[in-house]
């Protein structure tokens, strides 16, 4: 079962194929986006085995709920990313996952998430070095907390002892920097 080629389709073709339940769609989506989705999942859930299960759950959900995707409301990737993030955050906060990490403070999500981060975060292996350079640290920290570590912006504000508005502004500034970077 040697894999010979990766599939790449336009977003429009992908959406049509996905809504028709054409198997080419899920294969193409996997080829095109699994690494980016796994990048986010594995930062929220650093345990590789669990993260891989979550990637599978993500694709099953994408496959099964493709009919509900509305392209007028946003890009396909945003929709998939939100599925991946929601599954990952749900897992992060679920009782069985917390139980499996016995040394964690069950009652404090934020502390728990931080503990996860302390053990696993590594800018080099996560490929973030480039972006750390590009973004101001105060923006980068907030964006990463929310985007990569599963905090809500409210939790981030509490953790950083900042007003909610400031956290939102910093996330916006960080993403504006990213927009400049990618344009």
């Amino acid at each position: 079962m040697a894999r010979t080629k990766k599939i790449s389709l336009s977003e429009e073709e992908l959406v049509h194929a996905l809504k028709r339940q054409d198997t080419i769609a899920i294969k193409a989506l996997y080829d095109m986006y699994s690494a980016a989705l796994f990048g986010v999942i594995s930062r929220i859930i650093p345990n590789t085995e669990v993260a891989e299960d979550l990637l599978q759950e993500t694709f099953i959900k994408i496959w099964n709920s493709g009919a509900y995707y509305d392209s007028s409301k946003g890009r396909l990737f945003t929709w998939m990313m939100n599925i991946a993030r929601n599954l990952s955050i749900d897992k992060l906060r679920s009782k069985d996952f917390k139980n499996s990490n016995k040394n964690q403070d069950i009652e404090n999500n934020v502390d728990f998430i931080d503990a996860q981060r302390e053990v696993t975060f590594n800018a080099d292996t996560l490929g973030l070095k480039e972006m750390v350079v590009a973004l101001k640290p105060e923006y980068n920290d907030v964006l990463n907390m929310v985007y990569f570590r599963g905090y809500t912006h409210a939790e981030a504000a509490e953790e950083l002892n900042l007003p909610l508005g400031t956290v939102k502004t910093r996330i916006r500034m960080a993403i504006l920097e990213l927009r400049k970077h990618f344009n």
Binding site: I26, G39, E52
Partner: protein
């Protein structure tokens, strides 16, 4: 307008894209996006940046994970094709024919690529074959020419051989002549018509053979309309012994003439081609008596 700018700058659109909004906020953003293109464009730009950001932070997994996940998603009969998703056409999922059109896109492009390679290979082979054929054709032509030349040579040699055999026989005949007393050599000398003319006739008295020696012939070459005619004088009467040509490249040394039992002399006249019944006396060019 100002209100929209404030909305955009509040950071809610970023949180919307990340997925960190309440259901109410989500609804609000979507309503605003429908009404206001600026909001919609802003969302698109944020989405694009976040997608790029995610790609930048992508983490690849082993192919085995894909196989495992696809096995869990796809129906039984699809599993075998996970390894090569491009060939997937799924009969279990009954979709319209258009399905196969899209399905076929990567499949066909791969096939077309293959076909292009095949076509290129065919063209290359054709060119090589043509060149080979052309060269073979040339070689064959050369070989044929050589065969033709060789067969011509062979024929020439065969002719030469038979010519030489004949000449050899004739030479043998001539060589045998001195030892055979029946062979008479008659030297014909030029008459007043051409005093320089001369020739030799061999005559076998018992065998009655008469031969003209072309090598010892000293007659002027005859033209197309005339031939020399040999006569035997038997008891004063000329007897026709046949015609011959006087030419340099005669194939025979000895030319056989008609047979004669007895003759006192031989004479040659120049007659019209084919010879005459009676010799034209004024055209007599050589004559010689038989010496016993």
């Amino acid at each position: 307008m100002e209100e929209e700018q404030e909305f955009i700058q509040s950071g809610i659109l970023e949180l919307y894209v990340i997925g960190d909004v309440t259901a109410d906020e989500k609804k609000l953003v979507e309503e605003r996006a429908v009404k206001n293109p600026a909001v919609r464009d802003e969302i698109s730009a944020i989405e694009y940046a976040m997608e790029k950001y995610a790609s930048l932070n992508a983490v690849h997994r082993a192919d085995e994970l894909q196989v495992k996940i696809m096995e869990n998603i796809l129906p039984e009969d699809e599993k075998g094709t996970v390894a090569d998703p491009a060939v997937a056409v799924n009969p279990a999922i009954n979709t319209v024919a258009a399905n196969h059109v899209v399905t076929a896109i990567p499949d066909q492009s791969a096939k077309i690529k293959k076909l292009y390679f095949a076509l290129a290979a065919c063209v290359a082979l054709l060119i090589i074959s043509t060149a080979a054929l052309y060269s073979a054709h040339n070689d064959l032509g050369n070989a044929k020419e050589q065969i033709f030349a060789l067969s011509q040579d062979k024929e020439k040699y065969a002719q030469n051989a038979s010519y030489m055999t004949k000449q050899n026989e004739e030479l043998q005949t001539m060589a045998d002549m001195p030892s055979d007393p029946d062979w008479k050599t008659v030297k014909l000398a030029g008459t007043k018509m051409d005093p320089t003319a001369k020739m030799v006739v061999y005559w076998h008295t018992s065998g009655q053979h008469v031969m003209v020696d072309t090598k010892k012939m000293g007659l002027p070459a005859n033209d197309e309309l005339h031939q020399y005619q040999l006569w035997a004088l038997v008891n004063g009467k000329p007897v026709d012994l046949g015609v011959f040509d006087a030419k340099a490249d005669s194939a025979h040394i000895l030319v056989k003439m008609k047979e004669i039992a007895g003759a006192q002399a031989f004479a040659v006249t120049l007659e019209k081609r084919g010879g005459s019944v009676n010799p034209t006396m004024e055209q007599m060019i050589a004559m010689g008596a038989v010496t016993i």
